[in-house]
């Protein structure tokens, strides 16, 4: 099994699916000749031609709008938005058309498209290059929202997203693009969209996280567990919508305590929905309030201050400790 980083794993999934299914194509700004600004689409234009690795003009709504048309015509476009901060320009097309085409046409037309994009902070990038706005998409019925956390699950989930018959927003934690390598099976692999993964079982506290925050969280858990006897159940959410509250709630029912770590701003970030669903189903099992470690409700600062505004290991640790001791 070759070791690779997340960018390579994404690139692999794209290669595999384009090889397997000639209706799959990639499109976006600089995805062709240049191979994408992060090199996620490297090599595709040489291998599959410019008609299937399309360098588009610079227009996000046009990219997604024409991807919708392609999907309607039977293609499976994988559109890259260069940074998620530019994806808000596509909300009109996605909410107004992609998410609704199946409903509107009673199944006559569907939109099996993927919108891929790097999101999140931590790479010292310019303004608009560090936001985590998964809520916009998760609050849009008709879209699925997937966030991988590792090379292996990135490859498997992207494969699943491409094969999915409905529109999928695929948000890639850019901080994790080259952060570490992992073994990725030679054999094609998919994972079910809509399932959280219990990465480590535990009985004292449930920890939910996703994307780049998952690693930070895991590190803290490792530290704490090496220091004291406590058993933490670690969940990687993987799909934001549809949300796998069954897995989370079963865990909370067992542990009675829960901490959620998200990069998104606090108000109406995914953690709010997780808490609401805990409230719906397992409130009476809670022994402490669910704790959110999240971004603040401010405009994400330029990168000089960015680190202070992202969850830190210290903040996660304190949240865990306070929740355990509540």
């Amino acid at each position: 099994m070759p070791k690779m980083n997340m960018i390579q794993a994404i690139n692999l999934a794209l290669h595999e699916e384009m090889e397997k299914d000639e209706t799959v194509l990639v499109m976006g700004q600089d995805v062709g000749v240049n191979g994408g600004v992060f090199r996620a689409t490297e090599g595709l234009s040489v291998k599959f031609g410019k008609e299937r690795a399309i360098d588009t003009p610079l227009a996000e709504s046009g990219i997604i709008g024409s991807a919708i048309g392609m999907a309607i015509a039977g293609l499976k476009p994988v559109a890259e938005i260069q940074f998620s901060g530019f994806s808000y320009l596509t909300l009109g097309q996605l909410e107004g058309n992609a998410a609704r085409m199946r409903t509107r046409s009673r199944g006559q037309f569907t939109c099996p498209l993927v919108m891929r994009m790097p999101y999140g902070g931590g790479v010292r990038a310019l303004e608009h290059h560090s936001e985590s706005k998964e809520t916009y998409w998760a609050h849009t019925a008709g879209l699925k929202v997937v966030i991988p956390s590792s090379p292996r699950n990135a490859r498997a989930l992207l494969t699943a997203a491409i094969r999915d018959p409905d529109p999928v927003i695929f948000m890639e934690p850019k901080h994790s693009y080259r952060a570490f390598k992992e073994e990725v099976p030679e054999k094609k692999e998919t994972m079910e969209i809509g399932k959280a993964e219990i990465v480590r079982e535990g009985s004292d506290l449930t920890l939910v996280s996703w994307g780049a925050m998952f690693h930070l969280t895991k590190k803290v858990v490792d530290q704490i567990q090496s220091e004291r006897k406590v058993s933490i159940e670690l969940i990687d959410l993987l799909t934001i919508s549809p949300m796998d509250s069954a897995t989370i709630n079963a865990s909370v029912r067992k542990t009675g305590r829960c901490v959620i770590v998200q990069e998104a701003q606090k108000t109406l970030g995914p953690a709010s929905e997780i808490i609401a669903r805990i409230n719906d189903e397992v409130l009476m099992y809670l022994e402490a309030p669910v704790k959110r470690v999240s971004g603040y409700d401010v405009v994400m600062p330029y990168f000089g201050r960015e680190k202070m505004y992202l969850p830190t290991m210290e903040r996660i640790r304190r949240a865990i400790e306070e929740t355990l001791e509540f």
Partner: protein
């Protein structure tokens, strides 16, 4: 010369049959009488259905409807140039064209009575449903044409309709730019009916014409008499042919007029003069076409009478069928959210069915 001219562009206007009934035989499209009759019938049917639906609406049996009266030459003439395998991408003011694509007469009634069932065209699966987000349909036409080409269906073109107002949206610009760069067979058909609700064409954009916007993308553009169905057919057919031949997209500005209200929620007396409406009523596309057909001996009073009776009967039968419709599955929004029902949706559907089962209001 350092201040030199580096580009020259010109813009043409096409009219085949003018409002006085004068025909330019050189430009006359070669259509058989059968074809001409079919086209005429389509325009006539649209007009009748429109006015029948307006009545239904005024009686409270339909919700808000847009009215297409006066624009039949545009939608029918352009659609007539299309093949079934081409993409028809519309907004909401193309009733006649949609019917030509095989949409059952009952569909618009179902649609304007508030049910998605009216958006499904059982006959042609390359006709996109009504799209209300203005301008957002243009990139779909572009993508669909791209899709057809990539799949090897190289002859398939797209025809996309939109209004003068919609040309102000960013998606208009982005879509045409994409189509031009990709050299796709897309015909961008603007029904310039002079108004976007209360906004007159002159306040929508400062250019002398909409057709000249084609220059911005390096593509062909033409302004045509949108009440002259022969001009509409010819311009669209030529544009489609050029597109199929790999010569890229065309922007057609069809100059026409919205004879009625914007929708039944609108009161045009607030913002436009009756005199303007009267002036345009003299240019009626159906009347003009009828005169041409009679002149050509392709039509007669007798044929007219037969057609009127047929259409009337057909529409009245449809109204009856419509009024007898009751079977709207309450939970179908759950059916069509995703191809495979997610656990979340399964649970919500059960909750929903439970609620409406209990709830007398909704039974």
């Amino acid at each position: 010369m350092p201040l030199k001219t580096i580009g020259k562009f010109s813009l043409s206007y096409l009219q085949v049959l003018d409002d006085k009934g004068k025909l330019d035989e050189n430009l006359e499209p070669k259509l058989s009488n059968t074809e001409l009759n079919k086209l005429y019938r389509a325009m006539y049917l649209a007009r009748q259905l429109d006015s029948r639906m307006l009545k239904l609406q005024r009686q409270g049996r339909l919700g808000t409807i847009p009215v297409c009266t006066g624009q039949e030459a545009c939608v029918c003439g352009a659609t007539f140039a299309l093949r079934d395998s081409d993409w028809f991408v519309g907004s909401y003011r193309e009733l006649g064209g949609r019917l030509m694509r095989g949409e059952p007469l009952i569909n618009p009634m179902i649609y304007y009575n508030g049910y998605e069932e009216g958006s499904f065209n059982p006959v042609n699966d390359r006709t996109l449903p009504i799209n209300i987000i203005l301008g957002s349909q243009l990139p779909h036409a572009v993508g669909a044409a791209y899709g057809s080409r990539l799949k090897g269906e190289k002859e398939n073109a797209s025809l996309v309709f939109f209004g003068d107002g919609s040309t102000s949206e960013g998606d208009f610009h982005e879509a045409i730019n994409f189509a031009a760069v990709w050299k796709l067979p897309v015909v961008f058909f603007c029904q310039n009916n002079q108004w976007a609700i209360s906004t007159p064409r002159a306040n929508q954009t400062h250019s002398e014409s909409i057709a000249q916007k084609a220059i911005s993308y390096g593509i062909d553009g033409i302004q045509i008499d949108g009440n002259d169905v022969l001009a509409v057919y010819k311009a669209t057919k030529d544009a489609l042919d050029r597109g199929r031949a790999g010569e890229g997209p065309t922007l057609i500005e069809a100059v026409t007029y919205r004879m009625g209200v914007h929708t039944t929620a609108d009161d045009p007396t607030r913002y436009r003069k009756n005199a303007e409406v009267e002036e345009w009523s003299k240019k009626d596309p159906i009347k003009r076409f009828e005169n041409y057909l009679i002149e050509k001996k392709a039509w007669s009073a007798r044929k007219q009478k037969t057609m009127e009776d047929e259409i009337k009967a057909e529409i009245e039968q449809t109204v009856k069928d419509f009024e007898n419709m009751t079977d709207f599955k309450p939970d179908s929004p759950f059916d069509y959210l995703f191809e495979t029902e997610t656990d979340d949706i399964k649970a919500l559907r059960a909750e929903f069915l439970n609620e409406i089962g209990k709830d007398a209001d909704n039974a």
